[in-house]
Symmetry: C2
DNA sequence: TTGTAGGCGTTATCAA
DNA sequence: TTGATAACGCCTACAA
């Protein structure tokens, strides 16, 4: 197998096998209307030339690809990487290949949208708070199937989960039974997920005719949040603290523990999005548990349905269960 | 902007702008040898038709793509997802798009290799213990630039790190000064990285004329490792424990702590591959620290060099520093 | 069972 | 500054 600078084409294969383009194409694609003898000749030629079919030419000729695009904000958040793992598992099942895009700001979003459109992908998964209904519309207007994760759009297919009422219940319990203030550790300004959590908390407050204002803005970093929360606990050594991701909650937890506060008796802490890391703190972190890998898998399954039936609109809601561990009473 | 089922081509643009294919192509690609007036007409037509250039046709015509392939075993290991994040950051800088492939077994490897070859990617990053020199050769024989991460192949470009001597030093210290046995928590059978760590430990033992046999096979799961290590510590409540990844080390740590053992005075624990999670246990986990994101970034930079100069062979070695935290003396 | 010829949507060359 | 026209590598009627 020599280092072929000029890559063999189907035409080279045909010539070496003393047959035509069309016949070579047939055996490459496993059609059965080819005689065994010529089939063998073609197979030999393929091996001899180290021929690898050019997927680009194929995609162009067939006017379709095996690629799906996945648009996420960041790949190194634990829960996102788990979702992506699930997406990829399922994609493999359907023979799709995953083109992954990250967006760090608004300009990025437009760039990615255009790329995705140009690449004529089979379908798109959007798991990204940066994108709004209009952005998703840019894709669907171009007739590309899209499934959004965690973005509840009426006219687009989506996989979401219901947690609003459960958060309200937890908060109400704090206010009514435990007589405890609730604090929300907020990382971003623009994240819709955080906004939705916050409004769930606010609604629970309103039910008790109270106003909610305990938003603590924290940096998106374990270490910085840790020291910030140490300062906070020095003044307010009590309350029920809610963070979106577990690493933020763990920063608060460790801050409280290292300040010698009693968790959960003085301070309660929970995360909305728990991962396997919820299990490994001491005390263990209470959190909502959602199987992110499964979420990804189901989302890709939904996309596959959409690819086969482009005019469908599918809405799926997954359960989202609170798991009380050691950091809450 | 209507829902165009039939997507506009450059030909449609040309027709609407009353010009030729070639001229339309010129303005799309920002060539300056086009009169301002026709340029405007073409631009209008593009907007009117919601034209999006077909990257597949372009790739075919130009005989090159903007895609790079990334081959990893799993995307939801924390350290791998951090490497991938770095790879993607850098890819963005060069305008590359990332096609990510995961492999769960041997059959998968061949499948992925063929896919990558067919897709005519610009270059490939291999961060995958499943692939050996022969596999990488399949790619390089086809003249596609490859950078391997953590796989030390003489004839291929790679980014690796040096940790062997440091591990030997740590182990020697245990044997000579601390008079402590070393245990290796081993997850996989075939992982070359684990094998290399193990042989580093063995060499340190040999230096003291001792034979190393303290390999504890653990399942690749926090919970299972946790209970297995509890059983272990019930019988052997001492020693210096080395695990490859921090989540395994943390399982051992929690097992020891929950058994009321004193860490680090009775039991010492460390991880070879530390992540941000090393910081959040109590006591904090001693580990080697490598900036995985930076590792990924540099690897993609290396690939970019290789893409521009295909006959280069680049070897890069990154530092790998032991950070003693609370779980070791 | 096999082969011919046209098409997929671009880029690039060469005249005009 | 423009416009034909030939690639790029494959698929697929349609014919033989």
């Amino acid at each position: 197998m020599s280092k072929t600078l000029k890559k063999a084409t189907i035409y080279d294969v045909a010539r070496l096998a003393h047959t035509s383009l069309a016949t070579a194409s047939r055996v490459i694609n496993g059609k059965n209307n080819v005689s065994e003898i010529t089939k063998q000749r073609v197979l030999e030629a393929i091996k001899e030339l180290n021929y690898k079919p050019n997927a680009i030419a194929k995609d162009l000729a067939m006017n379709s690809t095996t690629n799906v695009a996945i648009i996420v904000p960041e790949i190194n958040y634990t829960y996102i990487s788990h979702v992506v793992a699930g997406l990829m598992d399922c994609a493999k099942k359907f023979g799709y290949d995953c083109l992954i895009f990250t967006t760090e700001d608004r300009a990025d979003v437009d760039r990615v949208l255009n790329k995705v459109l140009s690449k004529r992908v089979n379908g798109v998964i959007v798991f990204n708070d940066f994108l709004d209904e209009k952005d998703v519309g840019v894709l669907t207007d171009y007739a590309v199937p899209v499934v959004t994760i965690g973005l509840d759009l009426k006219t687009k297919s989506s996989v979401t989960w219901h947690y609003k009422n459960q958060i309200k219940d937890l908060v109400s319990e704090c206010l009514v039974l435990k007589k405890e203030e609730v604090y929300f550790l907020k990382v971003h300004n623009g994240s819709k997920t955080e906004q939705r959590v916050q409004s769930a908390i606010m609604e629970a407050y309103q039910l008790q005719n109270k106003e909610f204002s305990n938003v603590i803005k924290v940096p998106d970093s374990y270490k910085k949040t840790y020291s910030l929360m140490k300062q906070h606990f020095a003044k307010h050594p009590q309350g029920y603290y809610i963070a979106l991701r577990d690493s933020i909650a763990i920063a608060a937890l460790n801050a409280a523990m290292d300040m010698q506060l009693n968790v959960p008796n003085q301070v309660e802490i929970m995360a909305i999005i728990g991962t396997k890391y919820s299990e490994l703190t001491r005390p263990k972190l209470s959190s909502f548990d959602i199987n992110m890998r499964e979420l990804g898998f189901k989302s890709m399954e939904t996309l596959a349905k959409l690819i086969q039936h482009p005019d469908l609109i599918i809405h799926e809601k997954l359960p989202f269960n609170f798991v009380a561990r050691g950091t809450t009473k």
